[in-house]
């Protein structure tokens, strides 16, 4: 077993889809939020909307970390990239996201040293290779990614690497979900919860969703059969619960070793989410004990007034209030090549998914 093809078996997909049609209550509508950007992308990629009953509505949520990163973070990253002797290391997705006045891509064209990396380990290697430079890693991502960034800071301290630091905009998923369920504009009956965030945090942090807010929840894997099975589990719940579909990876307790790395290096803080605003305790900052690795404290970047394009609907798209196609910029002023908003530029952004697959899903409740 390779854990990929088996979960893309078209005969089983047909079977589960038919079971969903038989099990769904056709007298009501189901509004389910797929929280994670990878879910959003795979629902389009595998054309899953086409096999679902009309009354199951999938709404994309705030689970693309690049998309929810506020402009002030990019403005700070750009300000640091202009400082002498600095090299920026970033995941590729951040490269083309527009800030208030520029983007990392534009800064690189003007001569800034900006490298895309696959892992924080690559960024640490840069620090070893270029001892006279300051390597600044852009720390963006949810609980899945945070332990890998924490581990790089622990490793830098252990190996005495002093020219490595992290500009931190990490966020935690449950905080965003609280904001979603408290927003009166968003009508969600249930959640497809993010599988790989859950690999780290386990099941308990979501239980308020079923207990307090009476939402149906399933922690879902990412292959087409995982997504369909999760939808079947959601419509079959007799009372709101948090179930695990992705049991080959997720344990109810999550990954304690990874969480201890998070807790050692980071502390909770309030965080600004694009489109949603400030959410209490939904972010992570580098603890005082590790302040020499905190790029914000090390470089104290000064930025101008933060601004966003008034016509961009990224905020409403991230909350699931609007669909990308309702934005007047979509496909006209805003395309993946010339993106106005982060949801169009990120490979897992909702606008990018709608744009890329719009022909495939034409006419299908997109």
């Amino acid at each position: 077993m390779r854990y990929v093809d088996e979960f893309r078996d078209s005969r089983l997909i047909d079977k589960v889809a038919r079971k969903i049609h038989r099990s769904a209550d056709h007298s009501r509508a189901y509004n389910f939020m797929d929280v994670c950007g990878t879910h959003t992308m795979n629902i389009f990629r595998f054309g899953l909307r086409a096999v679902l009953p009309e009354n199951i509505n999938l709404i994309s949520g705030p689970g693309c970390p690049v998309c929810v990163t506020a402009n002030d973070f990019l403005d700070k990253a750009i300000a640091i990239s202009r400082m002498p002797g600095v090299m920026i290391a970033t995941f590729g997705d951040m490269f083309r996201v527009p800030g208030s006045y520029s983007s990392l891509e534009k800064e690189k064209a003007r001569g800034a040293a900006i490298k895309t990396v696959y892992s924080t380990i690559d960024a640490l290697d840069m620090a070893r290779r270029y001892p006279s430079k300051e390597i600044v890693f852009l720390g963006v991502g949810f609980e899945t990614t945070v332990p890998t960034v924490g581990a790089s800071i622990l490793k830098a301290r252990k190996k005495g690497i002093k020219n490595y630091s992290v500009l931190c905009a990490h966020k935690t998923m449950p905080g965003a979900l609280i904001a979603i369920v408290n927003d009166r504009e968003v009508a969600v009956d249930g959640f497809l919860l993010p599988g790989h965030v859950s690999a780290i945090i386990g099941k308990a942090p979501y239980e308020f969703l079923s207990k307090t807010y009476k939402k149906m929840c399933v922690i879902a894997g990412f292959e087409p059969l995982d997504i369909l099975e999760s939808i079947l589990m959601l419509i079959s719940q007799k009372r709101p619960d948090v179930e695990i579909e992705y049991s080959r990876v997720i344990s109810a307790r999550g990954n304690a070793a990874a969480r201890s790395v998070i807790n050692k290096v980071f502390a909770p803080c309030d965080a600004e989410w694009r489109g949603i605003g400030m959410i209490k305790n939904s972010g992570l900052k580098i603890r005082n004990d590790f302040r020499e690795f905190d790029a914000e404290r090390k470089f104290r970047p000064k930025i101008g007034r933060v601004r966003e394009d008034k016509n961009c609907l990224c905020g409403d798209v991230l909350k699931g209030v609007k669909k990308p196609t309702e934005c007047k910029l979509f496909g006209r002023a805003c395309t993946p090549e010339h993106a106005v908003g982060s949801c169009m530029v990120s490979s897992e952004g909702t606008c990018a998914a709608y744009y890329r697959y719009r022909a495939k899903d034409a006419g299908l409740r997109v």
Partner: protein
């Protein structure tokens, strides 16, 4: 961004290892994992193994789906 790829562990040296999938080999940091052995499948995210894949659970899921 939270992409994770199932890969087989083929070599372990301390907290680092080599993982493989479809003939593609790459280095993996195993420091976030406990009790990893060669032959295990792990989920690789941004160069780190973040969780072990449980073959028995995968089989169980597929069995349930086949019996629907």
């Amino acid at each position: 961004m939270c992409l994770g790829i199932p890969m087989k562990v083929i070599k372990i040296e301390g907290s680092e290892g080599v993982v493989e999938s479809g003939g593609l080999k790459r280095k993996a940091d195993l420091s976030l994992m406990k009790d990893i052995r060669t032959g295990d499948y792990v989920l690789l995210h941004a160069g780190f193994a973040i969780e072990k894949i449980k073959p028995a659970e995968a089989k169980k899921t597929l069995k349930i789906l086949r019996e629907i």
